[in-house]
Amino acid sequence: MLNPGKILLCIILLVSLAACEEALEENPKFMVVENFYNTSEEVESAVNAIYSPLRANNYTVYETTLECQADYAYGRGSWTPLHEYKGLNDANINRVAGLWNAFYLSIRNANLVIANAPKGTSINQADIDKNVAEAKFLRAFNYFQLVRNWAGVPLRTESNMTETDLRKSAPDEVYALIVADLLEAEKSLPEKQSRVGRPTKWAAKTMLADVYLQLGRYADARDKADEVIKSNLFSLVPVQSVSDYQVKVFGPELVSTSEEIFYLKYTRQVGQGNYMLWITNHPSTKLFSFGGAYVVYGFTTEPFYKNWDNKDIRKALWQPVNIGLGANTLISSKFADPNAISQNGAGNDDPVYGLNDVLLIYAESAVRAGNSVTAAAMEALNKVHRRAYGQAPNSPSAVDFKIADYTAASLIDLVIQERAYEFLYLGKRWLDLKRIGKVKEAIKAVKGIDVADKHLLWPIPLSELNFNKALNPATDQNPGY
């Protein structure tokens, strides 16, 4: 016997049955990896993602961690163990683990581009090459940081990016990839980028010079640096005062400067600003309106400061501030943005590579390559030096160093010392000291501390050792951890 209710039920059941399978299909309203990287715009946005892990506070933390270990600096609070040179304690082990993760996240995003862009369906070869080159430049950049601080590390490229367990590669292998990537970047990156902040051919050459210098390939370093200098595309920004440095060189409102080669770019937006200002500043300086952690400090009483010529404008960027440790305490005032919008909302860019670096790399590598003082090397050094005294960078001046006063060895020392003044607070000093093998000497001289061997490398984080089965915690961890 059929009645209306039964019929209704049957209809509902039947209609539903047919609709079932269809209902179970997922139709997300977001993009997925499998159907991305097809157009130039898509690939470019994927390239943009390579920058994010670096920019998001991590590079600031990286530079600060390095800076706390410099001979002229001390770390405050949880950063204190860094200037005690006995290896990292847990707080700092954790901090560098965060950096490891950031570098590798950036590397993964680079690998995704390198692997997928060539398979794009609606992208021309030129755009593929350009974007892949940019990704390789950034991949090399990340590995350069990793290899200098951890030595051997797992070498993840587009070919093994999905292999969970990957052995540690020796530093040589890492450097080989870095150089190969940079050479390709040098070849395929444009002379000039449409947007400031993307690496150019010149950025690739600059970093190559830096890498060659690190590797002791001085002639190569010299030549690459020279190519950049000779391009005449870059010039140092002249300064007359501390505020010129704060505004015209490192200023928050600059879009770019004539000496910029590769900077991490920041702007006054929430989460898009430079975190360095919070790390650096003491609330009393009013250079930044969101307090500050005044993590890195120095002392006026130490030789580094005492021997620094008072006429050097840069010295005044190392400003006495009593942070509770007495009036002879120094805090960097290199970065200032009183109009920042939040703790990480300052507009100052992070000058990773500028012409000053290229000039000093040139000076050092040229001297080292020929083991002799050259006029070109001295001129490169003097450009940086003159600018710091308020002189026109490209014209000889009274403050110039004279060739006659220096041997190759003493000139190299002079360049290294100039780098310390020029890049104070940019995290280069510790790596320079490590590169030239003078960590122990320099620290002992200034602070009277013997640096423990294990302090020279950072520990591989537990998040790697615990889960990467190709690593043996007992033998693959850096010594002492």
Binding site: I12, P28, V32, V33, A91, Q272, G345, F467
Partner: protein, 1112 residues
């Protein structure tokens, strides 16, 4: 005969209602016969002096002295016979013997009725009896009276009354009254009413006939709600625990689930934090899933709701909560049944007089326990010691140290006394066609942290209407409005969250500067951690308000073509509209004014089509079956905006466009669909052998193609041993049932789209502008299928002494396989985790529960107890590899805390074993791998967050109108990882306040066996056994003294009941746990690898409550 006597006895009791009896009846209707006062009656001393009088006269005298009433047929008493009797203060029974035996009259006592029978004649027939006290009247053709419910003495409207053997009949009116003409005195009236036993009453000579109907023993028997139906408790083949309204509503809780704690065996309820409206985690029979949620499925009035914690309801709305535990009960919910199912039934309308119930209560809450922290002087001394130990100049001079004294008590500043209020009004009634229940209720709780609160306003309507004989409709609607202000900034370290700041703020400092501004703690001393924020910032200058509208509505059309067949088409909507407004004022430390507003819209549509069939053949074979098809979808849409930098705090979150830097807007969408076929058959033979079998086929959109469908069958058998002949007449065993069940259930452990490799958008900067970035998240997606839990359950139900003692035991084994799990990846992959179907987990356990009526009668004592033991272990993991989880980062420690390893309990704490101190007072860790240094190879098992057993005990004593209820609940043998204490006992050197024992008992060369290491900013703390504490506790969750006014005695007709009570919650907690409270679970309930962690959670309160409950 016996049954007749019983009914008569009940009737009699009701005719002479005293308050006590009413109470008696009201609470234990089914058991009155178990406590006969017959013996007492016959012991009563009486005197009798009859000189040549009629027997009836003697009976009248005796009636006057006792409560007894004599029932007899006129023939028994030969009125012509004259007697002379004299008894002085002798037992009633003896008097009766001496008086009646010579007259050849037998007597039988039933309650306070004494039936007199001619010893030779057949026993008295009810048709013939008359009451002595009512004069025997001539036959009157009109008879009237009232019909009431024997259980609660409520009038019953609509009872049909038929003169037996005729067509003549009537029904009772709204007040249960009737009037009917009868042909003669020999007429028998048949009273019948659905759900009640029909009753035949001989009219005899009475003009007025008050009848009480007993609920049908079968109907009377408790019915429990199961998936897609109900079943008599005695016919249950599975393991189901029931918690009644009275227990759920016994003390105020923000979340009905909190009221379940300790009430049902096998159900562990943990309040995650003490924040008003804070989450509650519920575990039924242990933890099954590693990746997925372990929270049960909640089904409200048949609607499987989304997520855990059904916040739509107030406790007062709930009629009962059924917890389905074994696979036989849960498999009908298929892929959502693995963690158990909690079925919540709201109050339904009942036929009869319209009832109005009003309840209100007021509670005062206070912080349950303050932490013992350093005083100002101790603080300064402590940091001087630290400075000296770290070779620095002391921070404070001795004069400064001395001047600090006790210092400022930040806990007193942050924690306050706070009220909690509940009010509810429920009106319910109906007739034989329409039944309704309408209620409005309010729950309001202020938090013990200033500024926090939780308010719920709830309106509920349930309507059932019989359209025709074959069609009926039902509608159930709940609308709730939630409004809550959060001040539960927790977790964190070094005072960068509210809770952490409340503990860490230096006692040497006050909250305000001279000029009234907030003191900036971070720069107060050079050594203070930069993270430390004045807690007043969080309290006064940061607000998060959530306003939510929740709708749960369910309608069904029910069609009964034949009585045995029910076809039900139901549709339901669950809707949540949440809006969250967060604002940080310009006055907050380093804030230019920060605003964010977000909305969350969730809708679930449900369609359920079921056919059920119930039939008994030949009075032996009883079948009930249900089959159906269901569709449910779940759609979430989110929208958020923010802004940074405001010129004024006035606009709060309501003018984001005016922000100096408007944030990037966000929005999201997710939809998943679940399609299911289900069926179940219950078969019972001779009410002795029961069989249940069910199967559900679920298809979910969330899984990878090819793995979308899963089958979830179950089967159960039960043997009602007590119904076998050999036990039928057992004097002691009133119920005995053995049960066994097996089944498969699933867990939807993943979210929508989890198998897809999603790209997340972000921003980066070139030039001075922002550009979009697209990259995958840090979780690598995988190809996934269902998790399956196979469960075996053996159960025993035993009732003794007419069910005065009810005992239930269940033993179960659950094996969960194809576990979905987050697999941590080496961070060099860029992806930090992925999900895989790996491994196997086992839970097995024993549940015992006991319901007893220890004392009945005027002085009543009910005692319910339950105890559950669960043991779980990880049986198999992918390639046997450990899974680490529960990462904590509190600066001094940033490491995993928990491990899953084959053969060990889920979520065991994993860390270093301490081995005293070295000569410098630094912690030594056991070098378990013997390599001479401390590395993660030295980690070991340092604790187990899973309790050895959990228990609950409820004792209720009543006498006259007074009731004293004690409810004790506890957890035994679990460990807690006290992350809160890491910073405030070990993170020296950053100006944070510490517990006093750190000050008193730290390492010095003179005190090398101290509790804490050398005070130094370089403490080498690790996740170690130091932070693992015994989390066992026994808590007096509620103690209540109530007085029920004897409204009946007072003759107030419009008042049905009135109760006033005072109660206390959490007044007593026995525990060795050192921090705020052992009932804590900072990481929430869903996960498996980070259980038992206390990380600066909002502390628990204790409270005292007064309240009234009135029924009209």
């Amino acid at each position: 005969m016996k049954k007749n006597l019983l009914t008569r006895k009940m009737w009699g009791v009701l005719m002479r209602v005293s308050f006590l009896q009413l109470l008696f009846m009201g609470f234990l209707a089914s058991l009155t016969y178990a406590v006969d006062s017959e013996a007492q009656l016959l012991e009563k001393r009486v005197s009798l002096n009859l000189r040549n009088g009629e027997l009836s006269l003697a009976l009248q005298q005796l009636e006057a002295q006792t409560d007894a009433r004599f029932v007899f047929s006129p023939q028994v008493i030969n009125s012509a016979k004259r007697l002379t009797l004299k008894f002085n203060d002798e037992p009633f029974g003896k008097v009766l013997n001496k008086m009646l035996r010579p007259l050849n009259i037998k007597y039988e006592v039933s309650g306070n009725y004494i039936l007199l029978n001619d010893a030779q004649s057949k026993p008295i027939d009810s048709r013939e009896f008359g009451l002595l006290s009512i004069p025997v009247l001539p036959i009157d053709l009109k008879i009237s009276g009232k019909v009431t419910d024997a259980g609660n003495n409520e009038p019953l409207p609509g009872v049909s009354i038929l003169v037996k053997g005729t067509q003549r009949g009537t029904t009772t009116d709204q007040n249960g009254r009737f009037s009917i003409d009868i042909p003669d005195q020999t007429a028998v009236l048949v009273f019948s009413y659905v759900g009640y036993k029909a009753k035949e009453v001989a009219v005899g000579s009475q003009a007025r006939l008050d009848v009480s109907l007993e609920t049908d023993t079968k109907a009377l028997e408790e019915v429990v709600v199961v998936g897609y139906g109900t079943v008599k408790k005695s016919d249950l083949t599975g393991s189901v625990a029931q918690v009644k309204a009275e227990e759920i509503n016994s003390f105020p809780t923000a979340n009905p689930l909190q009221a379940l704690s300790g009430r049902a065996a096998g159900v562990q309820v943990t309040q995650n934090t003490g924040a008003p409206g804070g989450g509650v985690s519920v575990r039924i029979r242990g933890t099954n899933s590693i990746q997925g949620s372990n929270e049960p499925l909640y089904v409200v009035d048949g609607f499987p709701i989304f997520g855990s914690n059904p916040t739509v309801l107030n406790n007062a709305d709930i009629e009962s909560v059924e917890v389905l535990k074994d696979a036989s009960a849960t498999a009908i919910y298929g892929s959502r049944g693995a963690n158990g199912v909690v079925i919540i039934t709201t109050k339904q309308g009942k036929t009869g007089r319209t009832k109005v119930d009003f309840e209100t209560s007021y509670s005062q809450q206070t912080l349950r326990k303050k932490l013992d922290l350093m005083s100002g002087q101790e603080y300064a001394t402590f940091y001087n010691r630290q400075a000296v130990n770290d070779k620095l100049k002391p921070y404070f001079t001795q004069d400064e140290v001395n001047s600090f004294g006790e210092g400022f008590d930040w806990q007193n500043l942050v924690f306050q006394k706070a009220p909690m209020k509940t009010t509810s009004l429920n009106i319910n009634g109906g007739n034989d066609k329409t039944k309704f229940s309408v209620s409005g209720s309010y729950f309001g709780q202020d938090g013990i942290i200033k500024g926090s609160d939780y308010n719920r306003y709830s309106l509920r309507t349930n309507i059932n209407h019989q359209v025709s004989k074959k069609f009926s409709v039902s509608l159930s609607n709940t609308l709730s409005r939630l409004k809550t202000n959060r001040r539960d900034s927790d977790g964190g370290s070094r005072g960068n969250s509210m809770i952490s700041a409340a503990v860490s703020a230096p006692p040497t400092l006050t909250p305000y500067n001279e000029d009234g501004s907030y003191r900036i703690l971070a720069i107060a001393y050079p050594f203070v951690a930069t993270d430390l924020i004045n807690p007043l910032n969080f309290i006064n200058e940061q607000s998060t308000e959530i306003n939510a509208n929740r709708i749960l509505t369910n309608a069904a059309l029910i069609f009964n073509p034949i009585p045995e067949l029910t076809i039900k088409i139901a549709g339901g909507i669950e809707n949540a509209d949440d809006r969250t407004d967060s604002y940080t004022t310009r006055n907050f430390f380093n804030s230019p004014g920060r605003a964010s507003a977000s909305s969350y819209q969730f809708t679930s549509l449900l369609n359920e089509n079921t056919v059920s069939y119930n039939k008994t053949f030949n009075q032996l074979h009883s079948i009930s079956a249900v089959a159906g098809f269901t569709y449910q979808d779940f759609t979430t849409k989110t929208l958020g905006g923010s802004g940074n930098g405001f010129l004024s705090d006035i606009t709060e979150t309501f003018d984001l466009g005016s922000a100096i830097t408007p944030g990037i807007p966000s929005s999201g969408y997710a939809k998943s669909v679940l399609v299911s076929y289900l069926s179940r058959v219950n078969y019972s033979y001779a009410d002795k052998y029961l069989l249940t079998a069910s199967i559900r086929r679920d298809g979910s959109s969330r899984y990878s193609p090819g793995n979308k469908w899963g089958y979830f069958p179950s089967a159960a058998v039960a043997w009602k041993v007590a119904n076998e002949d050999f036990l039928q007449n057992s004097p002691n065993i009133s119920e005995l049932k053995l049960r066994a069940s097996w089944g498969l259930t699933g867990s939807q452990a993943i979210n929508a789209y989890a198998t897809l490799n999603e790209l997340n958008a972000g921003r980066t900067v070139f030039d001075d502008a922002m550009y979009t970035t697209f990259s995958p998240g840090t979780r690598l997606p995988g190809n996934l299928k269902w998790e399956t839990t196979e469960q075996l359950d053996f159960g025993l139900d035993l009732g003794l002494f007419k069910n005065r003692l009810l005992f239930t035991a269940d033993y179960y084994i659950k094996n969960t396989r194809d576990l979905l799990n987050t697999v941590i990846l080496p961070s060099s992959l860029g992806f930090t985790s992925t999900i895989q179907n790996i491994g196997q987990v086992q839970n097995k356990g024993l549940e015992l529960s006991l319901d007893s009526r220890v004392l009945t009668g005027a002085f009543k004592w009910n005692l319910n107890a339950n105890l559950s033991i669960n043991r779980n272990k990880v049986v198999k993991l992918y390639a046997g590899e450990d899974i680490l989880g529960g990462n904590v980062n509190v600066v001094v420690i940033n490491d995993v805390t928990s491990i899953l390893r084959e053969g060990h309990p889920i979520g065991s704490f994993w860390g270093y074993a301490e081995d005293g101190y070295n000569e410098q007072g630094r912690i030594r860790y056991k070098d378990l791998d013997g390599n001479g240094s401390t590395s993660q190879n030295d980690k070991t098992f340092i604790g187990n967050p899973n309790p050895k057993f959990i228990y609950g005990l409820n004792s209720s004593i009543s006498y006259k109108g007074f009731e004293l209820t004690l409810f004790v609940q506890g957890v035994q043998g679990n460990d807690l990882l006290n992350v809160s204490s890491i910073v405030n006992t070990m993170d020296h050197g950053f100006g944070l306040n510490m517990t006093r024992d750190v000050f008193l008992n730290s390492w010095t060369p003179e005190n090398p066996n101290s509790k804490y290491p050398l005070i130094s900013r370089n403490t080498n703390a690790r996740v170690s056994n130091r932070f693992v504490e015994d989390g066992s506790y026994l808590r007096l969750r509620n103690i209540q003294l109530a007085y029920n006014a004897p409204v009946e005695q007072w003759g107030i007709n419009w008042l049905r009941s009135a109760q006033i009570y005072v109660s206390g919650q959490n007044l007593l907690t026995l525990t060795n746990y050192s921090w705020w409270d052992p009932e804590v679970n900072s990481r929430g309930g869903g996960n498996s690898t980070a259980q038992g962690i206390d990380w600066n959670s909002y502390p628990t309160a204790k409270s005292t409550t007064v309240g009234v409950r009135i029924g009209f």
